[in-house]
């Protein structure tokens, strides 16, 4: 029974380990959906997907990049400096203090991390918006980061993949955060004009100003299962329509049903899906394409011996 496991597992651990409280809380994670307790190593191995119910938990930028780039290898870039706290904003707390907290907790300067490396053997630029940094909110730094990511993709002739996870614009930067809707759209246009693929992976949650700009402009839009994706917040909508929201509203599957995303993709299949999509869009084959000979040879090699196709690598190329 679930409730028994939940309580017993950590308790047992406590007893076995001897003294109380010597086990840090974060060794065990409680799934938000099914409430089961999951041991942290299990969770990491499973890319933060609950092994009991399949719930996709939020993934930090580093774990995300490691899970997508070939061999988990990549290089991050530092986007240009942007003015911190342009409004000298203060609500019940100073924005500058909130920023300081977020920076020390996350070990990054802001919510967007930009990296490049190989994905399925092709070069790729990946930008990850991390919800852990002030709710992934978009201010000037995120705008600058995305512009830098777009330029890097163009320089490298590589596709741009963006993982979004954000509550929207960063209110503490006021109008400057709103302007990032336009500026990040320019970043997308740069990639598009260079004829390079722009792929967005919408993860939980993607709402507000981020969904109303670069996150919804992907040539290919992929959503993680169960992710909340939409423009307005659910509380705001409920207040407006004065009724409860339909089941599954603003979930990835709902968006797929309504034609707003191309696919809902399990995290375990994300890497292969991205690799395949990029390969299809970048290495087009056909007679007019000079690069055509290369993938054709690779394909032939993969098909040569049935023994090869049994191992994992060949399986990936063939897929």
């Amino acid at each position: 029974m679930n409730w028994l496991k939940n309580i017993v597992r950590p308790k047992l651990r406590e007893l076995v380990g001897g003294q109380k409280k010597d086990v840090p809380d974060n060794l065990w994670h409680k799934c938000r959906d099914c409430s089961q307790m999951i041991f942290h190593r299990e969770l990491e191995k499973n890319q933060h997907v609950c092994q009991h119910c399949g719930h996709h938990m939020r993934l930090g930028a580093v774990a995300r990049l490691k899970s997508i780039f070939d061999d988990g290898a990549y290089t991050t870039i530092n986007p240009p400096d942007s003015p911190p706290d342009p409004l000298k904003f203060k609500d019940i707390k100073r924005y500058s203090d909130r920023l300081k907290d977020a920076r020390s907790k996350n070990d990054t300067d802001d919510a967007l991390t930009v990296a490049h490396g190989q994905l399925g053997g092709n070069p790729a630029v990946i930008a990850v918006l991390d919800f852990a940094f002030m709710g992934g909110s978009m201010g000037i730094a995120v705008g600058e980061g995305l512009l830098a990511a777009g330029q890097l993709a163009v320089e490298k002739g590589a596709p741009l993949v963006v993982f979004s996870s954000s509550g929207g614009a960063r209110m503490q930067e006021g109008i400057h955060s709103l302007m990032q809707l336009a500026r990040t759209t320019i970043a997308v246009d740069d990639v598009r004009e260079a004829g390079l693929p722009y792929i967005v992976v919408l993860t939980d949650p993607t709402t507000g100003g981020v969904s109303a700009s670069f996150a919804m402009l992907g040539d290919i839009a992929i959503a993680e299962p169960g992710a909340i994706i939409g423009f307005a917040g659910q509380r705001v909508i409920e207040q407006t329509i004065r009724e409860t929201l339909p089941e599954g509203f603003q979930r990835a599957e709902y968006l797929h049903e309504h034609g707003m995303v191309d696919m809902v993709c399990h995290r375990h299949e994300l890497r292969d899906t991205l690799a395949r999509v990029i390969d299809l869009l970048m290495n087009k084959g056909g007679t007019d394409d000079e690069d055509a000979s290369l993938p054709a040879v690779v394909d032939a090699a993969a098909l040569e011996g049935p023994a090869d196709s049994a191992d994992a690598d060949a399986g990936e190329t063939a897929a």
Binding site: I92, G174, R183, D189, H258
Partner: protein, 318 residues
């Protein structure tokens, strides 16, 4: 009769007195011309005092004043042969965003505006200026058409924001706004935007990613309403006044930041007091903005718009 805002109470009292006196003189019993002149001078002084130092929250109230000229008022005054165009060709006609072709001071233009509506019936018809995806998709269609025929685009922005409803979400509100911004940026014709009242968040920038952004003196433009900001960051909608001040949402603030290009002065006491004056003044300002791009090549128009937004956040900030 004016609809007075709460901070206009002293003005309301004085004008009430003038009204009373006029009423008396109408009955022919007393000559009160002197008294009225004196009171009127007081009103003028008080108006000037009040309106020269409106707080951001007071400006928010002025920007939302029901009697302020709306998009339809500017369009009917400015545009000859206005021919409304309807529908997004996919789902519906959204009356929150109006648009059409017509002639502005001799040149054919495309005009697009968010309309709040002047009375209850109109407000319902226009959904209080809150557009659904089909509104933004209509705007995209009209902007693209303008691009095709080489017509400059004028957009008039007055919206609390995009409509937060289940149907709007189901049809892709976020995508519709994102594509509108993208369409604005792609235009090879001049795009002139005016924030005439309330420039509410994504629903505003969807139409206002422009070559030139003008703003009326007491209009506001912000990432979220002061009430929304207060309820999230202060955890209390009652702190809207503080939020309005902290967000720096006035035309003067945005001019200082280089976010907008022109502040158009309003008549004493706000646009709602002297509607014709502000309608004329804004027409001149839009004309001037359009003239500045006369003869500029399409690619250049697009590039200069892009450069303007790229520069934001790098300049004008301490």
């Amino acid at each position: 009769m004016h609809n007075y805002l709460d901070f206009e109470k002293p003005i309301a009292e004085l004008e009430g007195k003038i009204e009373e006196l006029r009423h008396l003189s109408g009955s022919g019993e007393v000559n009160i011309a002197d008294e009225v002149t004196k009171l009127q001078a007081k009103v003028d002084k008080l108006l000037a005092q009040t309106y020269s130092k409106l707080t951001p929250w007071q400006k928010t109230q002025v920007a939302r004043h029901h009697d302020r000229p709306h998009a339809v008022d500017y369009i009917s005054a400015w545009i000859e042969d206005f021919t409304p165009l309807a529908g997004d060709r996919a789902f519906a006609e959204d009356q929150a965003i109006l648009g059409g072709i017509g002639r502005f001071r001799g040149r054919s233009v495309m005009v697009i505006g968010t309309e709040k509506g002047a009375d209850t019936e109109a407000r319902v018809k226009h959904n209080f200026g809150m557009a659904r995806p089909e509104g933004y998709r209509k705007a995209q269609r009209l902007m693209t058409m303008a691009d095709h025929f080489g017509l400059p685009v004028i957009t008039l922005v007055d919206t609390p924001g995009a409509y937060p409803g289940v149907d709007a979400e189901a049809r892709g509100q976020a995508e519709a706004i994102a594509r509108s911004i993208e369409t604005c940026l792609a235009l090879k014709v001049p795009l002139i935007s005016v924030i005439i009242g309330e420039g509410g968040s994504g629903g505003a920038i969807a139409l206002a990613t422009a070559n030139t952004v003008l703003m009326l003196e007491h209009a506001i433009y912000s990432v979220i309403s002061p009430e929304g900001c207060a309820s999230i960051l202060w955890r209390s909608g009652d702190m809207a006044q503080d939020a309005a001040a902290a967000m720096r949402l006035t035309a003067q603030d945005l001019m200082e930041f280089g976010i907008i290009d022109v502040v158009v002065p309003e008549p004493m006491g706000g646009a709602h007091r002297e509607r014709d004056i502000v309608i004329d003044a804004l027409e001149d300002a839009v004309d001037e903005a359009l003239n500045a791009f006369q003869g500029m090549e399409g690619a250049m128009l697009k590039a200069s718009r892009r450069d303007k937004y790229l520069a934001m956040g790098k300049t004008g900030l301490a």
